[in-house]
């Protein structure tokens, strides 16, 4: 396995149908290098939720991914409105998404809780009016969930 693979993506904010392309690409690359399957799924789900959030709330953003044999680090940054109440946003079922987003199958208030559940560490830096940066790490051999 290669030592460190660094990947960068632009998540377009104006095209909901393209949300998830970056996560799909990361998943494909992790499979190619023979990463542990449970870790691949957890990375894919966490990053996908992050991508969806960027499109729903922030008009898109940037994703930086670093893969090494021990862990996958993801940094998702946007220049959206910021998260007003992080504690509330972490609660399952709490959502500020508009109805048009719910009609698309998202905005059920499970995004951030899912990201936390599937990652080994997660940190949110957010500032109202400036944007949000989300740091997530998935360990290659953490305890398998489920």
């Amino acid at each position: 396995m290669i030592n460190i693979l660094s990947l960068d993506y632009v998540v377009p904010g104006d095209d909901f149908t393209r949300a998830g392309e970056a996560s799909s690409d990361v998943k494909r690359k992790l499979k190619q290098i023979g990463y542990e399957p449970d870790a691949i799924r957890r990375v894919a789900i966490a990053m996908y939720e992050g991508e969806i959030n960027m499109v729903i709330h922030a008009g898109g953003g940037l994703v930086h991914v670093e893969i090494d044999p021990e862990r996958v680090k993801m940094v998702l940054s946007d220049h959206g409105p910021g998260i007003r109440d992080v504690e509330m946003a972490m609660r399952e079922g709490y959502s500020t998404a508009p109805d048009r987003v719910r009609a698309l199958g998202f905005g059920a208030g499970m995004g951030l809780p899912n990201m936390k559940k599937y990652t080994d560490s997660m940190k949110i830096d957010t500032e109202i009016g400036k944007g949000t940066t989300l740091y997530m790490t998935v360990l290659a051999k953490s305890i398998t969930i489920g």
């Binding site: 909901f16 149908t17 949300a19 998830g20 996560s23 799909s24 998943k27 799924r41 894919a44 789900i45 996908y48 939720e49 969806i52 719910r102 698309l104 199958g105 998202f106 905005g107 059920a108 208030g109 499970m110 995004g111 809780p113 899912n114 559940k117 599937y118 969930i145 489920g146």
Partner: protein, 115 residues
């Protein structure tokens, strides 16, 4: 059961054939994709009435093999082509969600547990 068995049980139409002989053990029925993503057990089959391409993306992230559209819902063409790329079978049944889930459950398919 196999995807092929689901076609028979639900009297389903095949809109995109992936591997129909792959074994599936669990299923999840929902129109909310984040709820689907919250299920940690590998879900092989997704039943939904939602027809946008994010349904395929969700199935892809969860390593699902088959998506079933209930109530005769017809997905958009871009969904079918994405499913083709990802080799995910797309079925369509006239049964409503509750009935379709019930038929699969009584024929041996179980629901996955949520942690």
């Amino acid at each position: 059961m196999m995807v092929r068995d689901i076609i028979r049980i639900l009297d389903a139409k095949v809109l995109m054939a992936g591997n129909l002989d792959i074994e599936v053990k669990t299923a999840c029925g929902s129109d909310m994709m984040s709820d689907v993503l919250a299920f940690v057990k590998e879900q092989s089959v997704l039943l939904t009435g939602l027809t946008n391409p994010q349904v395929v993306r969700t199935a892809e992230m969860m390593d699902m093999h088959c998506i079933i559209f209930v109530r005769g819902k017809m997905p958009e063409e871009d969904l079918i082509s994405l499913a083709k790329q990802k080799e995910i079978s797309i079925l369509q049944t006239q049964h409503a969600m509750f009935t379709a889930c019930g038929l699969l459950y009584t024929n041996g398919l179980s629901g996955g547990s949520q942690s």
